[in-house]
């Protein structure tokens, strides 16, 4: 449950029964203590960075960022302080809502451990440099990449985001369209489905040589690859969702006076919606891979390009910086898609878990 109940094993704390909110059992002082624990790990990481002696020799550069003079360590401490403030704020924000409170409490142990892990990494990667360099830089070194060329990383992030949005949105639109046609018209199913099945299993990047030759710009070539990689799972699952619509629902609609367009758009497509979203989630993962791979193999920008360009100079801390940005960016994209899905499928709430 939480770090405190893990530590204080044996002192019989009231355990919530299944289905009962644990927040009912948490007194205010206990909540305060748990909140403190959730930031303690990060505070420890700051203290380690400040107090632990710098044993290994490193070069300390000073960067001018918006009138501030920052070193890598200073920037790292600022980031950690930001995290501490964020969780402290979250603690206050969650205090008034039982559901948020429960969620906050369930994550205390993980946040505590994350802080400790950062402290350990800082010691091994920066302070002692026991990790093999330059492959595993410390956390402050990764932050340094943003100090050094934050603007350039941002540009590349925007490039990736633009490429992803264009490719993925058209891929999903194209996939849903094809899926509806395949699911609805037996003739289209006969002619197109086998093509979909065969071409769908080929990793999209295999088409790269053709894409680069056939498309006028590298951007459109990569967008094309993302389109076809998203197309397959979306089309496949949309077709399945359409074709599996119970006959009764069509018959109901017909006895209510519905004609074909209503049957397609108000019966078959809503019925296929859960599967369309499963397709979109699957396509999402494929699309990230295709995005980064195609950027690494011939784009003038993007996070994949940035990784490749940094690798050439053995600047692995920059590679990690790009990976960090990807982790945040892709999680955010998944979150947005998840929110859209939750909204579109709210009628399912309570039916499926």
């Amino acid at each position: 449950m939480s770090i405190l109940s893990l530590i204080s094993k044996g002192t019989a704390l009231p355990r919530p029964k299944p289905g009962q909110s644990p927040s009912l059992f948490v007194s205010n002082s206990r909540y305060l203590l748990e909140s403190a624990v959730s930031v303690t790990g990060f505070v420890a990481a700051i203290l380690v960075n400040v107090l632990f002696p710098q044993v290994a020799e490193i070069e300390t550069k000073v960067y001018q960022i918006g009138g501030l003079e920052l070193t890598a360590n200073l920037a790292y401490r600022i980031v950690l302080s930001g995290i501490v403030l964020l969780y402290a704020g979250l603690s206050v924000f969650s205090f008034f809502d039982p559901a948020r409170k429960e969620k906050f409490l369930s994550r205390v142990a993980f946040r505590f451990a994350s802080g400790l892990a950062l402290a350990l990494w800082d010691i091994l990667g920066t302070k002692l440099q026991w990790l093999p360099m330059p492959f595993f830089p410390g956390p402050s070194r990764i932050i340094e990449a943003f100090l050094l060329e934050g603007g350039f990383i941002f540009q590349n992030t925007l490039y990736s985001l633009r490429l992803f949005t264009v490719g993925f949105a058209s891929g999903v639109a194209f996939g849903v369209g094809t899926g509806i046609l395949i699911g609805w018209f037996p003739k289209v199913y006969y002619w197109v489905f086998p093509v979909l099945k065969i071409t769908g299993v080929i990793p999209a990047v295999a088409w790269m040589p053709f894409a680069l030759t056939l498309f006028p710009t590298p951007f459109s070539a990569a967008a094309f690859l993302i389109v076809i990689c998203a197309w397959f799972p979306v089309a496949f699952l949309t077709a399945q969702g359409i074709a599996s619509t119970p006959r009764t629902l069509f018959e109901v609609a017909r006895t209510l006076g519905a004609k074909t367009p209503y049957l397609v758009f108000h019966v078959a497509i809503p019925h296929a919606m859960p599967q369309i979203f499963t397709g979109i989630s699957t396509a999402n993962g494929f699309a990230f891979t295709t995005l980064v791979m195609s950027e690494m193999m011939g784009q003038p920008g993007g996070l994949g390009y940035y990784i490749n360009a940094s690798k050439v100079w053995s600047a692995y801390y920059k590679v990690f910086a790009a990976i960090l940005v990807m982790a945040i960016l892709f999680s955010a994209i998944m979150k947005v898609i998840g929110a859209i899905q939750g909204r579109a499928l709210r009628w399912q709430k309570g039916v499926v878990r």
């Binding site: 629902l249 209510l256 309570g350």
Partner: protein, 261 residues
């Protein structure tokens, strides 16, 4: 109005192929006239073709030979004029109760003209407070009431009910039967109910059509002369129940070989 012939079923036959490609006679030489405003039940053991007959009237299926006419017009396909209530699970799960009831109006683009009727029908079936619920959030009995309202909002001449209460518990069923009678009286809709529940048929109908299994024939059409409301424990009710059960038993006894010389 009442007494006038509304629906005419003449020498209707329907066979279909089963999984082994054998042709099975679902309906054989069916004759039935339904008067305007009548409440008719079709009763029989499973496999006697009663649902097939209802589907033919709905226009969801077509007879091989014979003809079905409504007000003299042959039936060519489904129409909101012949409302259909399915056994269960026929609500659109992605629409709220209100949206489900309005779905017929929306499908025919008449929603704007009739939208004030939607809350009236929710009132009528007593589901106030559940307007924004989704089908999985309400009970089976409520769901069937919604299905009935969804068909009735189109003001059908005939309401076809395919064992709408088959999957409900006894209390909910009795409740829904009363609701159905009330709706029938107030709307003057002709009702054709398929059921395998003798009590239900007796409680509700003016006439009961008894069908035989396999070759799908009408074995008898019974008038129910009892005045409504019909107490289920009255002597007359029990007597009629007994005789119908006997007839059903005879009807479902092992088929006699037919001799053709």
């Amino acid at each position: 109005m009442s007494g006038e012939i509304l629906l005419e079923i003449e020498s209707v036959n329907r066979t279909y192929l089963d999984t082994d490609e054998n042709s099975v006679e679902a309906l054989r030489d069916i004759h039935l006239s339904v008067r305007h405003g009548e409440f008719i039940s079709i009763i029989g053991p499973s496999g006697c073709g009663k649902t097939t007959l209802l589907r033919l009237i709905a226009g969801l299926d077509f007879p091989e030979s014979g003809e079905i006419t409504l007000k003299g017009e042959p039936i060519t396909g489904p129409s909101p004029d012949r409302g259909y209530v399915f056994q269960q699970g026929s609500l659109f799960p992605w629409l709220t109760i209100t949206q489900n009831i309005a779905s017929g109006l929306k499908a025919r683009n008449t929603y704007q003209a009739h939208k004030e009727e939607v809350p009236q029908f929710i009132d009528l079936i007593g589901l106030n407070g559940f307007e924004k619920a989704y089908p999985h959030q309400i009970s089976g009995g409520m769901a069937q009431r919604v299905a009935i309202a969804r068909a009735l909002i189109n003001h059908p001449t005939v309401l076809l009910l395919d064992e709408p209460m088959g999957a409900l518990d006894a209390f909910t069923r009795a409740d829904l039967q009363d609701k159905l009678l009330e709706l029938w009286k107030n709307n003057e809709t002709t009702m054709i109910l398929v059921t395998h529940d003798v009590d239900e048929a007796l409680y509700l109908s003016d006439r009961i059509v008894i069908m035989t299994p396999r070759s799908g024939k009408i074995s008898e059409i019974l008038e129910v002369p009892l005045p409504r409301p019909r107490p289920r424990n009255s002597h007359d009710f029990a007597a009629m129940r007994g005789s119908i059960l006997e007839k059903l038993h005879l009807a479902s006894a092992a088929p006699q070989p037919e001799y053709t010389i």
